[in-house]
Symmetry: C2
Subunit: 201 residues, 2 copies
Amino acid sequence: MNENVACGTSQITGARFSIHPMTDKFVEVILGAIEKANTSKVWMETDDVSTLVRGRSSHVFDVVKAIFIYASQNEMHTALNATFSHGCPGDTTGEVFLAEDDKKMNEARLAPLTQYVTSQFALYPMGAASYMNTIMEQVELASSDKVTVQGVHYATQLKGNVHDIFTVLEKSFLDCQKGDSTHIVMTVNMSANSPSHKEDK
Amino acid sequence: MNENVACGTSQITGARFSIHPMTDKFVEVILGAIEKANTSKVWMETDDVSTLVRGRSSHVFDVVKAIFIYASQNEMHTALNATFSHGCPGDTTGEVFLAEDDKKMNEARLAPLTQYVTSQFALYPMGAASYMNTIMEQVELASSDKVTVQGVHYATQLKGNVHDIFTVLEKSFLDCQKGDSTHIVMTVNMSANSPSHKEDK
């Protein structure tokens, strides 16, 4: 297998994500958020485009959520871009922690922190002809009392509290793995403290 | 077809993208870049998470490249996140300009503007069991004398001049459409004026 397309075994979940604080102080906001988050149960590496997190699915979501929430607590406009991947063929098992229990390390400290966000996400179940049905099922299941769901071109838009949004995203990603595809990709964009949000609230 | 998964007919290329200038002046940088770009051959709409561009493939790439280059000409750290899509089943033909020739409207003004960037991109050929082969072929073709290509988890990393990088991205996206899949998605992340780039150059 070409190393260029190495990604994950069926047990590993990975996310490649970037935090974009729209402020002159972006470096300290990003580093401060990474420092605050408990990343002890994931393998993590940052390059000049993105940060890679690998481990059990629950911890990957926990860490991405923690870093985004910590980065956006300063009222400044902050964006998250993330690609989650599970079950990509052709990986080594390196660079990953799997021997951890499922207790999320950040949730207790994050719970009191609220944040209104708008998010757009898209699911890509790979290698299966039935992928559009899988996507449609998950989009319908994304509807909940707590988040506003709207179809937009190439994505599904969610608006609400960051905790409720992450609950929908993690559930959609896991449920999607029960379909015909064993390799699932999910892209997520999220915006906090946007000047446009004043109209929503 | 559920409106939540509407995306594109086989003729339409669309991109949903965001520009993230890491500066207190992000609003004027973004609006200034959009204003400078010639968007006369695409249908375009901005919401609080991203901007949607739809039209012929050449113009979609031209407009995304123009807005990113104009936004990053001020030496400030600027990121681009984009998802390109072609051939998604189940769309209306609305919200798109297809009756245009292929002459790019921004290229002449962009040509003299150089910009070193790092980019990570991933191809997702949907609905075909052979998708990993299609991805591997494209990654191998991405290699060129002008850009540095490196495989990373979940993506392929390109470093070089923004013009050369966009040439590789557009070519990979088009070539990928010749494979078994008629629905191709490509995600792109790009970083200009990153503090980390000093080491590269």
